[in-house]
Symmetry: C2
Subunit: 205 residues, 2 copies
């Protein structure tokens, strides 16, 4: 095959890693699988990365940058009210459930599940990526709490983690059941909960 | 080493599989790892199981039987009111968060995350085990709904899956953060949600 320019092949390898790892898991993914999916040579892989673990660390950082950019430019981010932004986030997570599980599930949740006890650096990279995403959510929860539930006993951060727990757990059911229905229904429960703790009126259905 | 009797060695291998897979993931776990953890020979392993995949199928069934027996005999199961049983389940899940992540996380959630696209039989076994557990929960949700929220727009089954999504997702954070704090806080949000949708009075904290 003709080699693409170095920068482009690095990005191809990172994108391939996101897709292959989300489909097959981290351990079962080989350097050959990633090169094949990226359409680049093994020589090019080892020009960019020292090892599969080195690629995983770069892929976790790449995923973090990519998803933060993606959510930052989503339409709901333009809403002025922090509670509307928070509910907009939940609705948006429902809207992007397209394709198969590897298309909409989380690289970091998959990666950390397999590596937490054996690869401390990958665990830390996953924790950092997920915590950064949650810190953005927590800012909106905190602002909404000040406006709509200042006396509530829960912390804004715990709500941020709860939102992500629902998503990460529902993704496991999307994999077990080969479809996003549990994710959709769990997001509906999550949205109802957020409405209730911020004392928003509930519709009958 | 001295070989234990055949039935005993099968059970040792299954118990070892639960622990090793929950710590290292499925792909990274070798037959040697499991034999070593079980203290039985490789000959004994292949007397009982055709392969690691064959063991995984038996381990999923063994996990299902073991956990159903465990929850069936838990104190909260004696409560007469179905909503009390449901809230008792959530509290009990908090009480059993002892030890490290491999001690309290779910074999099936771990196993399916890695194998769903590549091992259809293991995926189906995980789905069956998780769905059976959720069916027990759904019976209590359904009975509680009839008593306390007969007009509610949500299905009892969707609440069962939501409860499990929260747990499975929070286990991912227990692994990422090396401790059960997110699980505890997410169970507190889940318990508050169940109280709200069944119209139970909420305390101030």
């Amino acid at each position: 095959m003709t080699s693409p320019p170095p920068h482009e092949s690095r990005k191809k390898l990172l994108n391939a890693a996101l897709n292959v790892i989300r489909a097959r898991g981290y351990c079962a993914t080989t350097v050959d699988d990633i090169c094949h999916a990226a359409g680049v040579t093994k020589g090019s892989f080892f020009h960019h990365f020292k090892s599969k673990d080195d690629l995983a660390l770069s892929a976790a950082a790449f995923w973090g940058d990519m998803t933060e950019g993606f959510f930052a430019s989503a339409p709901y981010r333009q809403l002025e009210d922090p509670l509307e932004r928070l509910l907009g986030y939940v609705d948006f997570r429902g809207e992007i459930l397209r394709g198969d599980a590897p298309d909409y599930t989380c690289l970091l949740g998959t990666l950390v599940q397999e590596t937490y006890a054996t690869h401390p650096d990958i665990r830390a990279a996953c924790d950092k990526g997920m915590s950064t995403h949650i810190a953005h959510l927590t800012r909106d929860v905190d602002a909404a709490k000040k406006l709509y539930a200042p006396e509530a006993p829960w912390s804004a951060e715990s709500v941020g983690y709860f939102i992500q727990s629902v998503l990460q757990g529902a993704f496991i059911f999307a994999k077990a059941k080969q479809g996003p229905e549990v994710v959709r229904e769990s997001l509906a429960h999550l949205r109802r909960y957020l409405g209730l703790i911020f004392h928003q009126p509930q519709s009958a259905n």
